[in-house]
């Protein structure tokens, strides 16, 4: 049983390279021993299959990590629970952009208005732009989950998206009628 525990722990540890062996840090640097190895802090967080092998959204929502929101100014947390559907996805499933998961980490001004206009559909971009590190690719593919995870964004069936859109249009028409 003990052996199995050791095996499991070691297998988990192999998700993350030691700094001295990661091919990036200089192993001859005498200060390297002062730095924390990723395994120590990442192995206890909710797992994921890619990137840092950590589900950062769940880690924050579970309270496993409690990252600060500001250093200098009093940046208030402005959580926006609003999903945006991006319909122009070619033959791929529609993109659902969840504001909530993003505003838990970022300030509105990090994306608006220079990367994305606030009006849905007003910013035109393609997957090629994203793969080149623009728009969503500013973070996804660099530090947020990588661009090989197609289905995490392209997640809504077109029929379902059409139904949601019709409902939204009806609700808007009703609201306009009342005015």
């Amino acid at each position: 049983m003990g052996l199995l525990c050791v095996l499991t722990l070691t297998a988990l540890a192999s998700n993350w390279q030691k700094l001295a062996e990661d091919g990036l840090h200089d192993p001859t640097n005498p200060a390297l021993k002062l730095l924390q190895d990723p395994t120590e802090s990442l192995s206890v967080l909710p797992p994921d299959s890619t990137g840092n092998k950590v589900d950062w959204i769940r880690a924050l929502q579970n309270g496993d990590i409690k990252p600060r929101s500001n250093i200098l100014e009093q940046l208030e947390d402005e959580i926006l629970d609003l999903d945006v559907l991006i319909m122009a996805a070619g033959s791929a499933p529609i993109v659902r952009f969840p504001h909530k998961a993003h505003t838990e980490w970022l300030d509105c001004s990090n994306c608006h208005e220079h990367l994305f206009k606030s009006k849905a559909g007003a910013t035109q971009f393609t997957m090629l732009d994203i793969l080149q590190g623009e728009y969503c690719g500013t973070c996804h593919g660099a530090v947020s989950f990588p661009l090989t995870e197609c289905n995490r964004c392209h997640s809504v069936d077109p029929d379902e998206a059409n139904r949601i859109q019709r409902e939204m249009a009806t609700a808007k028409a009703e609201a306009d009628d009342k005015q």
């Binding site: 390279q17 640097n29 005498p30 390297l32 990090n110």
Partner: protein
């Protein structure tokens, strides 16, 4: 040979073999941490190791907006004109790395820790993986 081993030992042996095969495969599939940023704007020329900024370490403690909002870091590796003078003046890394909040600038090797000659990049980024370096045979 396995037939001479009792079932319990056979299970342990199988687990060991699987572990080493899987461990080896997993070990090869990952390199430095996803999102580690190498900053080599001036380091090589100054005879210092380039800087490794570990995103994973910092995002456990700070939300993205702290550095990319409050402190003015652009969302681009090498896109900030950071130098040691600015850091000592409390800009960029120096907002925290001042000996009060986090370790101070005299601990050069703790940040300047990459192999010499490593170019500015976001390590393991999709872009880096998709585009083959031109100097590679």
């Amino acid at each position: 040979m396995n037939q001479f081993l009792p079932p319990r030992q056979r299970a342990v042996l199988t687990a060991l073999v699987l572990f080493f095969v899987a461990g080896d495969w997993l070990g090869q599939s990952t390199q430095a941490e996803y999102g580690d940023v190498v900053i080599n704007n001036y380091s090589d020329d100054a005879g210092m190791r380039p800087v490794v900024f570990p995103h994973w370490f910092h995002r456990i403690r700070y939300r993205c907006k702290v550095c990319h909002g409050d402190l003015g870091f652009e969302f681009k590796a090498g896109g900030n004109d950071i130098n040691m003078l600015k850091i000592i003046d409390g800009e960029y890394c120096g907002a925290c790395h001042n000996g009060e909040h986090a370790w101070a600038v005299e601990n050069c090797d703790v940040c300047h820790s990459a192999k010499p000659g490593t170019p500015t990049q976001v390590h393991e980024s999709t872009l880096q993986k998709l585009i083959a370096p031109v100097d590679r045979p």
